[in-house]
C-alpha cells in the first residue's frame, strides 16, 4: 500500500442521492461527515498497486454502507468496485471487511461504524477488484469438494404422492442450519483459513452438519468422514470461533462444529 488520495464531495450542496439508493431524492442530511477509507486495487489494470483511498461524504439519515458506496460511485468515483445484490441482508453478496471485521455491508448503518470507516475486501477469496471478491467460485468449489447437496434415496420417489412426513421441530432445526447465505464472513474471520488455504472453513462444516441432520440424506458417518475427516477438514479447525461470532445469519457454528468433531473423531477407532 503506497499512496493515499482523498476525494471529497463538493461541500456546497448535499450530494444528490444515488439512483440505486432507496431513499428519496436528496436523502435527509444529518450534517455529519463520514470518511470512507477504501482499499483500491484493480488486478486487470497493469501497474495498479493496492492503496487506500479516502472519500468524504455527508451522512444521511438511515445511511447504510450500500447507500454510501453507491453514492461514492455515482458522484465521486465511477471506478470503485463492490458487490451488492439484494441490499437487504439476504443474499450474502456484500460481505467485506468493515473496520477490520467481515460483515454484510448493506445492513451496516454508517452511524454505527463511522465517522471513519475502513473498508477492505474479504481476505482468502480471489480478489476481483477493490472491495469485490469471488466468493461464488470458492463456495461452488467447497460444495463440489464436500458434495454438499442432499444425497436422497436412490429409489425413485413418486412426486404425485403425499410427501414423506417430518417432525415440525426437525424441520425448524434444519432450517436453522440451512440459513447460511454463503457470504464468506466465517472464512474471512478464521485465522486457520488465513493460514491454510485448503481449510474447509466453518461454512463447509456447517453444510455437512446440515445434511447429516437431515433424515432424507442417506449418507452415513463413514461417508461424511470421507469428506471432512482430515486436517483440512474438521480436525483442522482450531476452535477460534470467530466464525461463530461474525456469522451474519447467526448460525450455531460453535455447536455444529463441535458436534461434527465428536461424530468424526468417533470414527477414529470405529
Amino acid at each position: 500500500m503506497t499512496t493515499t488520495t482523498i476525494v471529497k464531495a463538493p461541500s456546497t450542496s448535499a450530494p444528490p442521492a444515488p439512483a440505486a439508493a432507496a431513499a428519496p431524492a436528496g436523502g435527509v442530511a444529518t450534517g455529519a461527515k463520514i470518511r470512507v477509507h477504501a482499499l483500491r486495487y484493480n488486478p486487470q489494470e497493469p501497474g495498479s498497486v493496492p492503496h487506500m483511498q479516502t472519500y468524504e461524504l455527508e451522512q444521511t439519515e438511515g445511511m447504510t454502507l450500500f447507500i454510501a458506496l453507491s453514492e461514492i460511485r455515482e458522484t465521486l468515483d465511477p471506478t470503485l468496485q463492490f458487490d451488492f445484490v439484494c441490499r437487504a441482508g439476504i443474499c450474502g453478496s456484500c460481505a467485506m471487511m468493515v473496520n477490520g471485521r467481515p460483515t454484510l455491508a448493506c445492513r451496516t448503518l454508517t452511524r454505527d461504524v463511522g465517522p471513519d470507516i475502513t473498508l477492505a475486501p474479504l481476505p482468502v477469496f480471489e480478489l476481483i477488484g477493490d472491495l469485490s471478491v469471488n466468493t461464488g467460485r470458492w463456495m461452488r468449489g467447497t460444495s463440489e469438494r464436500l458434495e454438499a447437496w442432499l444425497h436422497g434415496d436412490p429409489q425413485a420417489r413418486d412426486i404425485c404422492r403425499i410427501e414423506e412426513p417430518m417432525e415440525p421441530e426437525l424441520a425448524e432445526k434444519l432450517n436453522e442450519l440451512d440459513r447460511c447465505v454463503e457470504c464468506g464472513c466465517c472464512v474471512a474471520a478464521c485465522g486457520t483459513a488465513r493460514m491454510r488455504p485448503d481449510f474447509v472453513g466453518a461454512v463447509g462444516m456447517a453444510k455437512i452438519a446440515r445434511f447429516r441432520l437431515d433424515p432424507r440424506d442417506k449418507r452415513t458417518d463413514d461417508d461424511y468422514y470421507e469428506l471432512v475427516g482430515t486436517d483440512d477438514g474438521v480436525f483442522g479447525c482450531m476452535s477460534l470461533l470467530a466464525c461463530h461470532d461474525v456469522c451474519p445469519k447467526d448460525l450455531p457454528l460453535q455447536t455444529q462444529i463441535a458436534f461434527l468433531r465428536r461424530k468424526m473423531a468417533g470414527k477414529g477407532w470405529a
Binding site: P18, A19, P78, A88, T135, R140, W149, L150, I159, E164
Partner: protein, 677 residues
Amino acid sequence: MKVVYTDVLVIGGGLAGLRLAIAARRRGHDALILSLVPPKRSHSKAAQGGMQASLGNVIKGQGDNEDVHFEDTVRGSDWGADQEVVRMFVNTAPKAVRELAAWGVPWSRVRKGDRQVVINGQKVTITERDEAHGLVAQRDFGGTKKWRTCYVSDCTGHAMLQAVGDQAIAAAIPVHERTEALALIHDGGRCYGAVVRDLVTGTLSAYLAKATAITTGGAGRLYRVTTNAVICEGIGHAIALETGVAALGNMEAVQFHPTGIFPAGILVTEGCRGDGGLLKDADGHRFMPDYEPEKKELASRDVVSRRMEEHIAKGKGVKSRFGDHLWLDITLLGEQHIRHNLREVYEICHYFMGVDPVKDMIPVRPAQHYTMGGVRTKPSGESPTLKGLFSAGEAACWDMHGFNRLGGNSVAETVVAGMIVGEYVADFCDRAENDVNIPTGVVREFLEREQAKLDRLAQGGGSEDAAKLKARMQEIMTAKVGIFRRGKDLEEAVDELQELLVRSRSIGLRSRAPGPNPELVTAYRTQKMLRLALTVAYGALTRTESRGAHFREDHPRRDDAQWLKRTLATWKSDADTLPTLDYEPLDIRRMELPPGWRGYGAKDYTDHPDTAARQAEVDALKEKHADRFARQRALMPYDHLLPQRLKGRNERIDERFPAAPGGAGDTPESAFAWESE
C-alpha cells in the same frame, strides 16, 4: 473470437434457470448457465412468504385442489392469464413442492392438535388433523380462498434456491458466474445463443447453443422505489426485445407490493398480513375493512396497494421527512411468532430501521414488486416468433399471471416452469433438425457489433452521464407510470423517456478502467433499460382500461369488450424511439372460467359479447359432469400440453390414491417417477 458451445444456454441462474437446466441435463443434454452473480445470490433468494401449491394439508386448506387454485389465479390475473397455462401450472405445483421436499427443502410442517392463529385481528384456535402431522404446512396469503402457501419460515426463496442450486451442482452443470448476456445471436428466425460479457475481465465471447433460454427474472429497477434487487434491471427482457423478432407481452402489467418498508423499499412479506398483521393509518385506525369488507388486508396486491395510496391521498398517511407512509402492525402476533416464523422480517426491521416489530409498528408504503410482463412464449416456453428461444420464470410471459400475479404464485411458477419448459427444451434438442449449424460470419458480426457499441461508449467522447439518465428514468417511472396512471402523465412520461433514450445515445464515460468497469456497465444497461421503460409506459398509455395492476384513473373500468387481449411489443429498429405494439386476443370461447367479478376490488367492468354465451356453456357442462376431473376435461382440455412425466393427479389427504398392489406406489395416473441422479 472466443466461442463456447453447449446444447442449452440458460441465461439466468435464479430458480427458473436452475430448474430448467436440471431438467435438460437429466434428459442428457449439456446445459450451461450464465449469471450476473453466483446463482444462489439471485433474487429468487428474496422470496420470503412462500410458494402456492394446493396440497390441502392444513385444516384451513382442506378442500383445496387444482380447481380452487386455478380459479384464484385466473381471478387474480383479472382474466389476463392464459387459462391453459394456469391449468398446467396448478397441476404441477404440488409436484414441484414434493420434489423440492425430496431435494431437501426444510418446508415448515404441520403439527397436529390445537394451535392459536390470528385471523382477521382475532386470536382463533384451530385444530390440525392427526393424519396431517409432519406434512408440509400452508399459510394464508392474499387473493386465495384456501390456505395454500407452502413456506419455510420466512425464507422460502432462500431455502428453495439453496436446494435447487445444490442439485445443479450435483448434476455438474457449469455456471459461468459474473457474466452478462448483451445480445442474442439470431438470423431473424432462429436463435443461436448470445454475446456474453465477462464481468471480471470485460471481454466478450459468443455462446452458441441449440436452445437458448431467458430466465433473467424481473425488471424492478426501472422504478426508483422497488423491492427488487439491484441486479433486476430487465436486461434479459431487453435483449429479447432488441432482436426485433421476439415480442414482450403485457409489459405495462407491473405489480406493486403493499408493504415495502419506508423509505428503503425493502420488502416485508405478505406473510405478515397472512399471519394476521394489520394495516393502520396515522390515527392508528385499521382502514382496510372500510374499503374491502370481505378480504380486508388480504385482498390481492393490486387492490391493497391502491387502497393504501388512496388512503394516503385522503391525508390519512403518517407524515415523515421522506414523505407519507402507513403502518404495518404485527405486534399482536407476539414475540415468539415474530422471532421464529417471521425472523427475516425481524432482522430487516432491526438492522435497517432500528425498529423492533415485536413492540413497534413498521412504516410501509407500496413499492414496485413484480414484472408480470415478459418474453412472450407458447405454453411450451418457446417464443412463437424466434425459434430456439425459450423463456421461463419472471422474465417470461407464457402468461399465467395476466395483469396481476398472486403472492406465492411466482416462486411456484419459477420451479414449475423450469420443470415444464425444461422438458420442452430437451424435446427440442432431441430433434436432429434443431442441431445448430450456423455460419461463423453471423457470430462474428454479432460479436463485432456489440464490441463496437461498447467501444463507442468508452471512446466516443459523449457528454451524457448514464447514472443521471437512469436516475431520471426511475423517477419518471415511479411518479408517472406507477400505481395510479393517468393519460396525461403517461404521455409526459413517454415523451420524456424518448428524450432520454435519444440522449442515451451520446453517453460518455469518465473512466476507461479495464476489467469490469462499473461505469461502462451502467452506461450500456441504461440504454437497454430505457427501451424497456418505454415499452412499459407506452403500453400503459395505449391500454385505455383498468385491469389487475394496471389502473387508469381516467379509464377505471375493466373493458373486456375492447381490451381482453395481450399487448405484444417488438422493437423493430435501433433508430426507433418507441416499440411497435400488437395485440393478441384472448379467446373467451375456450375459457374454463369466463370473465366476471374477481370477488374483491371494484365491481366495475364491461363484458365481452362472448362472455354470456360461454358462461351458459360452462354452466351446462358443469351440470353434466359430477366428477371434477371429467368436468375439467370437458371444459378445457389441457393434458396434451403437459410433458409426459408431469402428467398425473396429485394425491392429498382427502384424495388418497388407492394403495398400490406391490406397495411400490404407482397408480395409472401417476406415471412420473422421481430419479435421484
